[in-house]
């Protein structure tokens, strides 16, 4: 269990994290979502005692990180891609860490095997690709078999197979009863991995909720309708108070009525229906709607197609 209360961090005039309060319960994957620069990493660094907060607390099972008896056996953190010396081998890097917390050295080979780095364990870590470095970071986080895990952007640099592996790993760790907090700016990734969401923007809490609730709460519910009787149907819908928009493919987008209501209307007025599909707001839509005022860095114009696609 991670408990963050009124956590605040300033860098000069910039408030990176502002009165942030949330909880990360055990047994589920909690996604930590926010645009770039919204304070996710700073918050995670404060939870792990690396950055010192201006005010507020971040507790792990009721304790400040620096007071933990066996930090690596209680908390595992992947906070940056490369937290190892480039000329030290992967195995030696993990051994140095294991010694610091009395972790049996056989555990080093276990986690190397778990992350799939056994064959390169004797190679200098500086020669690793971004993805291999990420796996070594995950191995270090798992070294002490901790009950609480923090992963900051764990899928960065991983190939599709690696991404799927991390996703399953996070879910397995949570299923074992562990507390798992994973940050991402990739909403689609969170939709697949997380059970709960903590959403922040500009260092402030925007939402703390289940993924399904988050989507249901925001997001405009609309219904896609395909009918040959466009004119008659539009008039009937308007008479019922719904707003009707035209889709590019000749379909209608109806807001203000549910799909069953539209179906009933069609039966009453003997209008033909070829397609009737409720459009659920995606997690992405919900996120964009909630954070549109909170984005720290945005392109100066909307013309940049590539920039928009990457966000």
């Amino acid at each position: 269990m991670i408990t963050v209360h009124s956590l605040t961090k300033r860098y000069g005039a910039t408030t990176a994290v502002d009165q942030l309060t949330f909880e990360v319960p055990p047994g589920v994957v909690t996604g930590f979502l926010g645009p770039n620069g919204s304070g996710k990493s700073t918050t995670m660094r404060m939870i792990m005692g690396l950055d010192i907060p201006e005010s507020g607390t971040a507790l792990i099972d009721g304790q400040v990180y620096s007071e933990l008896a066996w930090p690596m056996r209680q908390v595992g953190g992947l906070l940056e891609a490369k937290a190892f010396h480039p000329t030290r081998t992967a195995r030696n890097h993990l051994r140095c860490l294991a010694l610091a917390n009395d972790i049996p050295l056989r555990r080093v080979d276990e986690v190397l095997d778990l992350v799939g780095l056994t064959s390169v364990a004797g190679r200098r870590a500086g020669k690793f690709s971004l993805g291999m470095g990420q796996r070594l970071g995950i191995a270090a986080a798992l070294l002490g078999d901790p009950g609480v895990l923090l992963f900051d952007e764990p899928v960065n640099g991983l190939d599709p197979e690696g991404i799927r592996w991390v996703r399953n790993l996070l879910r397995d760790l949570a299923a074992e009863g562990r507390t798992v907090l994973v940050s991402s700016h990739l909403i689609s990734e969170m939709a697949l991995t997380a059970d709960r969401l903590v959403v922040i923007g500009r260092g402030r809490l925007i939402a703390e909720t289940g993924v399904a609730d988050f989507v249901a709460r925001s997001g405009t519910a609309a219904v896609r309708l395909v009918t040959p009787d466009v004119a008659a149907f539009s008039a009937a819908l308007a008479a019922e108070g719904a707003s009707v928009g035209a889709g590019e493919d000749g379909s209608l987008t109806v807001e203000g009525l549910t799909a069953p209501q539209i179906g009933d209307l069609a039966a009453r007025d003997r209008l033909r229906v070829h397609e009737l599909v409720p459009i659920l707001a995606s997690l992405e839509d919900a996120f964009m709607e909630l954070t549109q005022d909170e984005v720290e860095y945005r392109p100066s114009t909307n013309a940049g197609v590539a920039a928009g696609a990457k966000e």
């Binding site: 055990p26 933990l68 190892f84 051994r95 140095c96 610091a100």
Partner: protein
């Protein structure tokens, strides 16, 4: 709440855990072995060349000749090694990002700093004492073999000079470690060390020559290594070995103290 497969052992991690981790870190870096190995080769080469050059002169040359300090000349190379080594042990952690993993394992910063300082000082002290003795024996063997005046460990002040030279360079290493803590950048820390140890004496000669005796380099060569007082007439009156070593300890303490204060307070 949080279930773990490995049960937590009783108690908590100790200072000894931090020490073992730091020793393993030094031992698993190839650069450590290479740096120390090169220091041995270069240091002994300097001692060999200097003592060899002191052979076969007229008797007048040997007035005030100090065979002990001649045989310790190679340790000046170790002073540079200490400066680089001391700085790198902390700055390399910052430049590589390892410091984050280190602090995640040992989050009590005084414990980590104590272990790092202790291991750094111990490694350099043992290394420099060994090199100091080897350099002394090599130098004296060359001098006596070539018929020049030579010393033994029993000669007045010789043992003190050999032992204090090793200790002095360990203190210089800690001063550089302090610079590393302050700047966290390898370039800035090593530049500071070189400025204080090798550039400042040159500048000071032009400003106030008598005060050169307070600088680390001058203390090392004129107070610590020397067993025969220089004749009268010099502008610089060297400090006594005891005052010299205490002053170097003060320099190291100031750099370490400032570095430690910053390390304990700022974000990693």
């Amino acid at each position: 709440m949080s279930q773990t497969a490995l049960a937590l052992p009783p108690g908590r991690y100790r200072f000894s855990n931090a020490v073992r981790s730091e020793v393993a870190k030094i031992a698993t870096l190839r650069s450590t072995v290479i740096t120390l190995g090169l220091t041995v080769v270069a240091g002994l080469l300097v001692t060999g060349l200097v003592t060899n050059a002191a052979l076969g002169h007229s008797p007048g040359y040997y007035m005030g000749f100090d065979p002990t300090s001649e045989a310790l000349t190679g340790l000046i190379v170790a002073a540079l090694t200490g400066g680089v080594f001391g700085a790198l042990l902390i700055t390399a952690e910052y430049s590589s990002g390892t410091i984050r993993a280190t602090l995640a394992a040992i989050p009590r910063r005084p414990v980590l700093l104590g272990a790092k300082t202790g291991v750094t000082a111990a490694v350099m002290l043992v290394f420099c004492e060994l090199l100091s003795f080897v350099s002394f024996f090599l130098g004296e063997a060359i001098l006596s073999g070539g018929g020049a005046p030579s010393a033994s460990l029993g000669s007045p002040g010789a043992l003190r000079a050999v032992v204090l030279t090793g200790l002095f360079i360990a203190l210089m290493t800690l001063m550089s470690f302090g610079f590393g803590l302050i700047f966290r950048s390898t370039a800035a820390a090593i530049a500071s060390f070189v400025a204080v140890v090798f550039v400042l004496p040159l500048v000071m000669h032009g400003i106030s020559e008598p005060d050169v005796r307070y600088l680390p380099t001058q203390i090392l060569t004129d107070s610590v290594m020397r067993t025969v007082r220089q004749g009268p007439g010099g502008v610089i009156h060297p400090l006594s070995p005891t005052v010299g070593i205490l002053l170097m300890a003060l320099y190291a303490a100031v750099a370490m103290g400032a570095g430690a204060l910053l390390f304990l307070r700022r974000d990693a």
